[in-house]
Structure formats: structure tokens, C-alpha cells
């Protein structure tokens, strides 16, 4: 259950942090249709995050931050709002600043391609909760991936400027991709236990899908090496970019001001 807890936390944090970034677009998108679409994606991921964090807390109560006796804050909210950045286990890709619309869609393409492959496999998890989250999530993330792919193709084939921005977005994000298909020991153990997925086994499938989308964009995979970690550690080890603590500062401020609050 300790491994299950840590594993659910990783997937939950990915969804939560990505949702927080995507929600920044609300009232700022290029058009109302995109405003609504990006909010939809964020809402789906928020829903996944809630279930996954609740699963993490149930599987390993030791993960959950302590609050004053009698605080009504539920475990998934304690995890979301009362952990510091180094206790977050998301990949660094999701915490990067939102960038422009092209970068946002490029990131959503990378993230949802990977997450769809992962959830597809996770439907067979021995943990019934993870399996159920994955089953529901597959339909959602299929839509996310299609949205992102459609926009990448549109931007690639739109104007010179949109193509330039898409290429810049992909180039800037690619160094963070490798982290998604690298295995952290928790992931390896979760996979061995039959509850999780070893992300290295997703690499080929994902890069195949990405290559297809890139081909439709008349582009190829950027040839850039991955971003270094810190003391060998990356997001899954709680070693993040400077952006995460800023993101959490905003996200957590009201909850932390009211550790005994009821919402």
C-alpha cells in the first residue's frame, strides 16, 4: 500500500498541476470555444486528481499532512493544499509556465499522448480504484489528445507565425519529455506489483503516436537531449523547477490561511 500510495500520488499530482496551469487560460483564450475547451480539459484532470489523491491518502495515510485536531479538511485536499513543492511527485513538464497557445497545445499533446497510453494500460490494474479511474480517464484523455493534435496540425499549417510558434513550443518542451517515459523506482515496483505501469514500456507507443502527429504537421521530433535533474533526481523525486513553488503559492494560499476552514 505504500507503493500504491506513492504511485497514485504521482499520477494525481501530474493531473492536478497540469489542471492548475490549464485553468490559467480561463478568460484568456484566443476564442470562446478554446476557452471552454481548455476549461474542459482542466476539469477532467481535476476530477482525476481528486480521485487519485484520495486513493493515495487511503493507501498510505502517512502521506497526508497533519492539520490541527478536528480540522474538517478532507485527505485529498490536505494533499493538494498542504504539501510543499518538494513533496509533489509530478513530472516537471506539467509545472512549466503556460507559455503561449502553441506551447500550451504542444504540451497538451505530449502529456495526453503519454497519459492516454498509460491509462489504457492502467485499466488492467489490480487496484480496482486505479482501474476505474483509468477506464473513465481514457475517454477524457482521448478527447484531450485529439484537441491538442488538431490544434498542432492547424498551427503548423496555418500562418508562418503560428508555425514558428508551434516549432518553438515543441523545441522548448522536448527536453522535458524524457522524464515522462523514464522509470522511477516507485513506478517499477508498482508495475511489478500489477497495480501500476512502467513508463519505459510506453515510450515506443507514445513516440509512434507523436511521430504521426508531427508528420501531419510536416515536422520531425526535435533533436534535443533531456534536461538534467538535480543530484540525479527529477520531478518524481520531488526535485522540481523554480516554477512549482510559485504555482503552489497561488494555489494553496486560501486553504493554508484557513487550516480549519470548511468549504
Amino acid at each position: 500500500p505504500v507503493v500504491l500510495g506513492s504511485y497514485a500520488l504521482m499520477l494525481g499530482d501530474d493531473a492536478l498541476v497540469m489542471a492548475q496551469r490549464l485553468a490559467e487560460w480561463c478568460s484568456r483564450a484566443p476564442d470562446l470555444e478554446e476557452d471552454i475547451a481548455l476549461a474542459n480539459v482542466a476539469l477532467d484532470l481535476l476530477g482525476q486528481a481528486r480521485l487519485l489523491l484520495a486513493r493515495a491518502a487511503a493507501a498510505d495515510p502517512g502521506l497526508v499532512p497533519a492539520l490541527p485536531e478536528g480540522s474538517p479538511v478532507p485527505p485529498e485536499d490536505r494533499l493538494a493544499f498542504f504539501r510543499d513543492d518538494h513533496a509533489f511527485r509530478n513530472v516537471r513538464l506539467v509545472e512549466l509556465p503556460r507559455g503561449d497557445f502553441a506551447e500550451t497545445m504542444a504540451r497538451l499533446l505530449l502529456f495526453s499522448t503519454w497519459r492516454l497510453a498509460l491509462l489504457g494500460r492502467l485499466r488492467g490494474s489490480r487496484d480496482a480504484v486505479l482501474a476505474a479511474v483509468a477506464a473513465k480517464g481514457c475517454a477524457e484523455v482521448t478527447y484531450h489528445r485529439d484537441l491538442a493534435a488538431r490544434w498542432c496540425v492547424t498551427l503548423a499549417g496555418g500562418t508562418e507565425e503560428s508555425r514558428r510558434r508551434l516549432v518553438a513550443g515543441l523545441d522548448g518542451l522536448w527536453p522535458w519529455w524524457g522524464e515522462l517515459v523514464e522509470a522511477h523506482p516507485v513506478e517499477v515496483t508498482a508495475a511489478a506489483d500489477g497495480v501500476g505501469v512502467d513508463p519505459t514500456t510506453l515510450r515506443e507507443e507514445c513516440e509512434g503516436v507523436l511521430d504521426q502527429v508531427l508528420a501531419a504537421c510536416d515536422l520531425t521530433r526535435p533533436d534535443v537531449p533531456p534536461r538534467e535533474g538535480i543530484r540525479g533526481g527529477k520531478g518524481r523525486d520531488g526535485r522540481h523547477t523554480e516554477e512549482l513553488s510559485r504555482l503552489l503559492t497561488e494555489m494553496q494560499v486560501v486553504a493554508r490561511a484557513h487550516p480549519e476552514g470548511t468549504w
Binding site: A23, L32, D35, A39
Partner: protein, 315 residues
């Protein structure tokens, strides 16, 4: 020329008969130019209010204090974008595009509800906006479901259904906070204190100072006067405030058994006039935010148009 005029007379009669029957006009029907202009202005202003109205609440999405509240709030603001969409579609049936109207909004040529020129200063404001602002909006809008222009009335039916869901959600947030810590209760009261008077202003100036009301009522675009709606809102809200346990900041507010209504004080109409003129706490900020989003997104819209054109060519 004489013929056309005669023809117009007939059309005018047909139009008036439709209005008199409380039937709906559809986009293909003839309508007087003044009616069309008034409708476009009113629907556009309503659409703009939905879109600008995303900002005050959107200000707290990133800071929502629980995962559930974050989802509820994001979904609500998303609904407002959806309302904007339906309403802009209704103006499109009158021959005015969304882009034109957006340009008029960010140029300051068209207005939106003045309530959104007040800032949101605490998470309680999310609840208060749901309860009071959406509550007032519903009072204004329910009669519009029977408005004389079909597409507008149908849009309003959908909008009202969602607004009343939002209103209940807002009330529920405040109720939950009132059951929370003392700080939370104080937040709610402070928020209600700030929004009460601006909410009353949402019904527009007193009838005596509302010159367009008569024509709009004659055309079936409006069905109740400002003061009637304001009274309805106060009567509806007072018992809800009691249930919440908050005080409404009006020393003159009391039940008048003779009238069968609540008496209440008047908002500061000079403040209202200043805010409508553009000098409210947030007017400049709200329009600048919208302009920024619109300008930042221009290259995306252009790309989508260019891509679609290329697809069509090669098809």
C-alpha cells in the same frame, strides 16, 4: 417609394400584431429598425456581461481552497463563456458578428453590466456573486425567456436554467462558510456588505430615470420595470439572508405589511452613474484584460482561418 412605404406599413402592422399576440419574432421576419437596433444592443450588452463576468470570479480559480470548489468554480466560469456564445449567436441571427461586437466592447463603444466593475477581494465573493449577482440576474432574465425575439428568448431559457443552478451553488458556498470558522463567517459578511448595493444597481436606475423602458416594454423586449424587478429581488433575498445569518447593510430595510413588500433604501445613484461612465474600481482593468486576450489570440484565429482556407482549396 410610395409602394415601399405602403409595404412597410403592412409589415409594421404584422409586426405589431405578432407582439400583441405575445408571439415570437424570428430572424427571417421583418422588424422595425429601432427594434432591431435595441435588440442588438441589449443582447450584445448581455453577452458582454457574461464574458466580462468571467473575470471577477476567474480571479479566484487559481486560489480555490478545495479541489471540489475549484472544479465548481471553473465549471461555472466556463458556463458563462457558454452563455456568451449563445447570446452572440442570437446577435448573429440579426446580422451582427461576434467579432464586430467584441471590437465594440474593447473600444468602449458597448457596455456590460456595471456590477463587474467591482473587484473580488475574498473567496466569499465567489459565493456572494452566485447568490446576489446571479440572483439579481435571474430576476432580470426570467421574464426575458418570454421576450418577443425567438433566438433571444430560447437562449435565455437555457441561460436562466444554468444561472439558477449557479445561484444555488453560491448560496451553498456561503452557507458552508457560515458553518465554518469565525474568520470564514466574517469573510461572508464583509463580502455581502460590499456587494449588496452594487447588486441593487443591477436593475438599472429608478423607473423615473429610465427613459427607454416604455418603448422596450411596448416591443415586448422588456416585461417589467426596473423598480418592480428590484423589489422582487429584495423580497426574495431578505429571507435567504436570514437563513444564512448575514445582515444586509441597509438600515432602512424592513417588512412593510401594508405594501406586502420590503421597504429599502436607495443605492448611491451617483456612484452608479460614475461606474457606468467608466470610472468604477475595475472598468479599465476589465476591458484591458479582455483586450489583451483578444489581441494575444489574434495570431491563433488567423492561423485557424488560414488553415481552413488551405483545406478548402485542397479539397
Amino acid at each position: 417609394m410610395v409602394d415601399t412605404l405602403a409595404h412597410e406599413d403592412e409589415l409594421q402592422e404584422l409586426f405589431e400584431a405578432t407582439i400583441a399576440r405575445h408571439d415570437r419574432l424570428e430572424p427571417r421576419d421583418w422588424m422595425p429598425e429601432g427594434y432591431r437596433r435595441t435588440l442588438v444592443r441589449q443582447i450584445a450588452q448581455h453577452a458582454h456581461s457574461e464574458i466580462i463576468g468571467m473575470q471577477p470570479e476567474g480571479n479566484w480559480i487559481g486560489r480555490a481552497p478545495s479541489l471540489r470548489r475549484k472544479a465548481v468554480l471553473l465549471a461555472k466560469v466556463q458556463d458563462e463563456a457558454g452563455h456568451g456564445l449563445y447570446l452572440y449567436s442570437a446577435t448573429e441571427t440579426l446580422g451582427v458578428s461576434r467579432d464586430e461586437l467584441t471590437e465594440m466592447l474593447i473600444d468602449g463603444r458597448q457596455k456590460y453590466s456595471s456590477i463587474f466593475n467591482y473587484p473580488t477581494l475574498s473567496y466569499a465573493d465567489v459565493g456572494t456573486i452566485g447568490w446576489l449577482v446571479d440572483g439579481a440576474a435571474i430576476c432580470n432574465q426570467v421574464p426575458l425567456c418570454r421576450t418577443s425575439f425567438g433566438p433571444y428568448g430560447r437562449a435565455m431559457i437555457r441561460v436562466c436554467k444554468e444561472e439558477s443552478f449557479h445561484q444555488r451553488q453560491g448560496f451553498e458556498l456561503l452557507m458552508t462558510m457560515m458553518r465554518g470558522t469565525e474568520e470564514q463567517q466574517a469573510m461572508v459578511q464583509e463580502s455581502v456588505d460590499r456587494f449588496w448595493w452594487p447588486a441593487l444597481m443591477m436593475f438599472g436606475p429608478p423607473d423615473a430615470d429610465s427613459p427607454n423602458t416604455a418603448q422596450s416594454m411596448a416591443w415586448g423586449i422588456k416585461t417589467h420595470t426596473n423598480d418592480e424587478l428590484r423589489q422582487k429581488f429584495v423580497d426574495m433575498t431578505v429571507p435567504q439572508a436570514a437563513r444564512l445569518g448575514v445582515t444586509l447593510p441597509d438600515p432602512d430595510l424592513r417588512w412593510n405589511p401594508e405594501r406586502g413588500h420590503h421597504d429599502f433604501g436607495q443605492p448611491d445613484w451617483q456612484e452608479f452613474a460614475r461606474v457606468v461612465k467608466g470610472h468604477g474600481p475595475c472598468n479599465a482593468q476589465r476591458v484591458a484584460h479582455r483586450r489583451q486576450a483578444w489581441e494575444d489570440g489574434a495570431w491563433v484565429r488567423e492561423a485557424a482561418t488560414a488553415y481552413a482556407a488551405k483545406q478548402e482549396e485542397s479539397a
